[in-house]
């Protein structure tokens, strides 16, 4: 079993989805998809008098955005960064409450966020998304409580970023680790 923590508003999570699903298909590993909300991606405004640290953070954010867009093109994926990024907690709560295969919802939520700039913290938006997949909306209060519970447990086990992969008691942050994760899956006892 591979546990993968994602957030719909995380650009790295968005770009990790297809390679992670490809690995699952290739190896047959089962994935436990869990929500882990991170800060919305934003680029700080350039200040008239920046400190070195402020400039570093701004330059880093621009470079990260450019790199995400670069690999979105590599993956043939449509991706747009919003100047005012929306939240994602309602969609993450809904994902936490899905009893069956969450992948269709995960695909739809990522697409809605990164191509249509949907506000995935709006329960009505998320309910519409679920409805388009013939899925019923969750009891929001219960789902949000579950989201908090998952986050608390995740933080206790050292999760701090999305996407995070946990396998064989090891934490890997980012899809760049998929070769090593694949080797761990291959080495795992069958059955």
């Amino acid at each position: 079993m591979l546990t993968v923590f994602i957030d719909f508003k995380s650009p790295a999570s968005f770009l990790a989805l297809a390679p992670t699903l490809a690995l699952a298909q290739e190896t047959g590993v089962q994935i436990d998809w869990l929500p882990f909300s991170v800060r919305p991606f934003s680029i700080p405004e350039e200040q008239a008098e920046e400190t070195v640290g402020e400039r570093h953070r701004r330059v880093r954010a621009i470079a990260q955005r450019n790199t995400h867009l670069h690999y979105a093109r590599v993956q043939g994926r449509d991706m747009h960064f919003s100047k005012t990024p929306a939240g994602s907690d309602a969609a993450l709560a809904a994902m936490a409450g899905i009893g069956g295969d969450p992948v269709p919802f995960i695909r739809a939520a990522f697409a809605a966020y990164w191509t249509e700039q949907a506000n995935l913290d709006d329960e009505a938006v998320v309910a519409a998304l679920l409805s388009s997949l013939a899925m019923a909306p969750p009891d929001w209060e219960t789902a949000r409580e579950k989201l908090v519970s998952i986050r608390t447990k995740a933080e206790q086990s050292g999760i701090f970023e999305s996407p995070s992969y946990v396998i064989a008691d090891q934490l890997f942050v980012g899809r760049e680790h998929l070769p090593w994760i694949g080797s761990l899956i291959a080495a795992a006892p069958v059955g």
Binding site: R57, V59, I62, N66, G158, G174, E176, P179, W180
Partner: protein, 231 residues
């Protein structure tokens, strides 16, 4: 003056001796350079870590001074653990540093080697990177860096003057161009106006340098063997 994004070489590689990410990128990047029979343009980028990641000093394994937040520490600790497990796959030891080093002298050493004895650059990296990350080198001491250069078979006549004069001036002038050029960390790979930070881009860099044949690869930390190693 050296321009941050321009070179006659097919690839510019920015590294810093005190970066664990650069440390684990050195051998894979050198291997790529060798496999393609190319000469990359290796350059120093001396990170100003306290300016963006807070500062800290340890003594006997315990933090005795720190301006870092809890989330900064979480990320830094993961970063070291991650670099360490990949270093171990390369047969290298990576110990967390006891303080934030000024790596400029050792980094100016990179420029010295590029200028004086380019073919021995890999030797210099081997004499400075692994011992530094075993906590065996004081890279703020010019005599220690000279000893690394000599061990790598590189003439050090004039190196101390270079560090204080031309080498320092070139180093500082280059550093001043990096943020305006869009470069902020190491290892950074630059080619044809594209800037990529991190060794996870090596598959893409290779694809580019080999003539962009077939589909472009995604990011990946390539591993030598599919045999998993303990962390």
């Amino acid at each position: 003056m050296q321009q941050a994004l321009e070179s006659d070489a097919p690839l510019i590689v920015y590294v810093d001796i005190k970066s664990p990410y650069a440390f684990v990128a050195i051998r894979p990047t050198l291997a790529l350079e060798k496999s393609l029979d190319m000469r990359f343009d290796w350059r120093p980028l001396t990170l100003d870590i306290p300016s963006y990641l807070g500062s800290a000093r340890k003594s006997k394994g315990k933090v005795v001074e720190s301006t870092r937040s809890a989330s900064q520490w979480t990320g830094i600790k993961y970063g070291y653990r991650d670099a360490r497990r990949y270093a171990e796959r390369q047969g290298l030891m990576l110990k967390g540093t006891e303080k934030i080093w000024d790596s400029s002298i050792a980094n100016i050493g990179i420029s010295w080697v590029m200028q004086k004895d380019r073919e021995r650059l890999a030797n210099y990296f081997e004499t400075v990177y692994p011992p530094f990350w075993r906590r065996e080198l004081d890279i703020e001491d010019v005599a220690v860096v000279e000893a690394c250069l000599e061990q790598a078979g590189i003439d050090v006549e004039g190196f101390a003057d270079f560090v204080q004069g031309e080498g320092r001036a070139r180093h500082d002038a280059l550093q001043a161009q990096l943020h305006p050029g869009g470069i902020y960390g190491v290892p950074t790979y630059v080619f044809d106006g594209t800037i990529l930070f991190g060794r996870e881009h090596l598959p893409y860099v290779r694809w580019h340098l080999e003539g962009r044949k077939g589909p472009a690869p995604d990011v990946a930390y390539e591993i030598d063997s599919l045999e998993p190693l303990p962390c």
